[in-house]
């Protein structure tokens, strides 16, 4: 990969910890047995609050949103940690984070009654994690250290797909 070894190791580390976070967020929800995004969605603020509240208002929609969130977070986390289908996983992870960010955006003038552990203005940790995934997406970290490397090596081994220049 371009840029040398240490930057790629650092990005791999970033990918593993973001993956870890996703995986635990997913597994914790799956194992709690009664987790639902309903409360969170109903608390939504900001310009898109109506959309999230609508999502929470229908039991079927909500049940599906819950399933998608729980399993989505788990699978994205697992893939990021393993470095498998890294770009797809990064995209999906960014999709989740965009939704989380928009449900409670720390924009000027919005006040939250739920205490948070930090102070945020426009940028919060969801947005930071989203940018981390953007880095992972563009640097294709899975190809450096991750199962993607094995998958790709196996595929590119076929001479028809990636003929070595010296052979021709």
């Amino acid at each position: 990969m371009n840029g040398g070894r240490w930057p790629m190791i650092a990005i791999t580390l970033l990918r593993v910890v973001v993956g870890w976070h996703f995986l635990y967020e997913g597994i914790a929800k799956l194992s709690s047995g009664s987790w639902s995004s309903g409360g969170y969605l109903r608390q939504a603020r900001g310009p898109f609050a109506g959309l999230f509240e609508w999502l929470a208002s229908d039991a079927n929609l909500l049940a599906n949103a819950d399933l998608i969130t729980m399993w989505g977070l788990t699978i994205v986390g697992l893939l990021l940690m393993l470095g498998l289908f890294t770009r797809l996983a990064s995209l999906a992870g960014m999709g989740f984070l965009v939704l989380f960010y928009l449900a409670n955006p720390p924009f000027v003038g919005y006040f939250y009654s739920i205490p948070t552990e930090g102070s945020y203005l426009v940028v919060n940790k969801n947005l930071v994690e989203l940018c981390a995934l953007l880095v992972i997406f563009f640097t294709r970290s899975g190809l450096y250290a991750g199962l993607d490397r094995i998958v790709h090596a196996l595929l590119t081994r076929r001479p028809r797909l990636a003929p070595a220049p010296s052979v021709s």
Binding site: M1, T12, R15, V16, G19, W20, L23, Y24, I27, S31, G33, S34, S57, D58, A59, N60, L62, A63, N64, L78, M81, L82, G83, F85, R87, L88, R140, L143, Y144, A145, G146, L147, D148, R149, I150, V151, H152, A153, L154, L155, T156, R157, R160, L161, A162, P163, A164
Partner: protein
């Protein structure tokens, strides 16, 4: 020959040597040892995650069990075999409390919503090592579970009478949720069955066993008489707008089963409290708890009631009962007449719920929710000093009033001769650290063992049912209705 894209998906008809995107990176052309090592290099992180998660789970399980498991029962404690009939939200609240009580053995759970409620509670109980059998039909449960000592009933109100009577007649002690029944006829059958069978029947007005309420009643009102003569009472349960309970289609019950058990559809089943014939609306659901306290603390039943209510906010098709109710009761207490106001409204939750007793010497604001109302007592300036009761620990020392800040900007307070001097504020020094329902269930099981007396037996809760159910009648009648003393009694044995 098909190619592959970077995500490993098949790409049909990729030209050989074409731009697959692979060439842009100096990737090895075949799998070598270095690829395998680097490819697998982050897999150990997953192992680390697994280890951390396992540790976390063990920690959570240990703390949950420590919090929920009943304290070690003394060896001679008689184990009580219990069944839960009705595993909805309230059934779960009771289950959580019961898991903290020593000497109980869950044997069975019965709920018609086998797809969801039943499964959830059964799973919870199995996690706590209670091997329970699950039933849809309570009669089958009573037939098969011969060793049951007690049944905890948390079904919708309109089922209470039949469930209670059948369980009592099957020789079980019963703890039944309030409201006793949605009809007085049903409530009478329950009182009658308890008398006939000699089995215990406790009704779930759980404040009757709450140590704070017991302290306020026994020590502050009866013994110390700190309020002097109570002349007015007011109380409320304000609840914020809440959406109807829904259900995902995959958990829906078949229509035939819903009909069999008296429900039109899943919406009615989930929101039965709002429907006439099934529940009694917020005044019965919420007000019943607090109107019960009015009568208990005043030592009397009401003589008259006037009420106004209506469905001001919700869709009347799905909310048949009144979302807003305001009631005034008259009481003739041994100490003199009392006016007692109560309101329940379900469109704004601010100021929550409390009962406020106002006497000529003091005021007591009490609530089951200590977070919002810590049990404040106010001593009127003309009342005798409370020093003795502070020393005895009946009430806390008064809170010191802070002198108003002398700020140039703040307008100077103008003392008006008509204003009363602000009273001292004290607190009720008794707190309940357990779940709200635990002491009431404990009282029931202690009584089953013969070590206590029920704090809310059926004849007492019948009196409350009479007072509360009359409110809906008064709203409809649009006039002041009166009670006769005999209205509060169940005479003789009916069949």
């Amino acid at each position: 020959m098909a190619g592959h894209d970077e995500k490993g998906r098949m790409k049909p008809d990729e030209p050989v040597g074409g731009s697959t995107g692979y060439e842009r990176h100096d990737r090895p052309a075949r799998l070598n040892r270095r690829d395998v090592l680097k490819g697998l290099s982050t897999v150990p992180a997953l192992g680390l995650f697994g280890y951390a998660w396992n540790q976390q789970r063990q920690f959570q399980q240990t703390t949950a069990e420590a919090a929920a498991t009943a304290p070690a029962a003394p060896a001679d404690l008689q184990e009580i075999n219990v069944a839960l009939l009705g595993a909805g939200a309230q059934g779960q609240v009771l289950t959580e409390s019961m898991l903290r009580i020593a000497g109980l053995r869950f044997r069975a759970v019965c709920d018609i919503w086998t797809e969801y409620n039943q499964r959830r509670v059964v799973n919870t109980l199995r996690r706590f090592k209670h091997q329970v059998n699950a039933y849809e039909d309570y009669r089958e449960m009573l037939d098969r579970e011969k060793e049951l000592d007690a049944v905890i009933i948390a079904t919708p109100d309109f089922w209470h009478a039949q469930h209670t009577v059948d369980c009592l007649e099957a020789g079980k002690h019963v703890y039944c949720e309030k409201e006793m029944s949605n009809t007085l006829e049903g409530a009478r059958r329950m009182v009658d069955a308890a008398r006939r069978t000699g089995k215990l029947l406790q009704i779930g007005h759980q404040r009757r066993s709450n140590p704070r309420y017991l302290h306020c009643h026994g020590k502050i009102l009866q013994e110390a008489q700190l309020l002097g003569r109570i002349v007015t009472v007011n109380g409320q349960w304000n609840r914020a707008v809440t959406p109807d309970l829904g259900v995902p289609d995959r958990y829906a019950m078949p229509e035939a089963r819903l009909k069999q058990y008296g429900f039109q559809d899943m919406h009615q089943f989930r929101n039965w409290r709002w429907y006439k014939g099934l529940g009694g609306g917020p005044i019965v659901d919420l007000g019943s708890h607090q109107i019960d306290i009015y009568s208990w603390f005043l030592g009397a039943n009401p003589s008259h009631v006037m009420a106004s209510g209506g469905n001001l906010y919700y869709d009347p098709k799905t909310h048949e009962w009144y979302d807003t109710v305001m009631v005034v009761y008259d009481y003739d207490t041994p100490a003199g007449p009392v006016k007692a106001y109560y309101q329940t409204q379900t469109t704004n939750g601010s100021q929550g719920y409390f009962e406020n007793f106002m006497g000529d010497q003091g005021t007591l604001i009490i609530s089951e929710s200590e977070v919002n109302y810590a049990g404040q007592l106010y001593r009127d300036p003309n009342a005798p000093a409370w020093d003795e009761w502070i020393q005895k620990g009946y009430v806390s020392a008064p809170r010191v009033h802070e002198a108003p800040a002398a700020s140039d900007e703040a307008p100077k307070a103008i003392a008006d001769v008509r204003e009363s001097v602000p009273p001292d504020q004290h607190l009720v020094p008794v707190v309940l650290r357990d779940p709200y329902h635990q002491p009431h269930l404990q009282n029931f099981f202690d009584t089953v063992r013969g070590n206590a007396q029920l704090t809310c037996p059926s004849d007492i809760s019948y009196e409350t049912a009479v007072a509360v159910l009359k409110v809906n009648e008064a709203i409809e009648a649009r006039s002041r209705l009166s009670f006769r003393p005999e209205d509060f009694k169940v005479e003789g044995a009916t069949t």
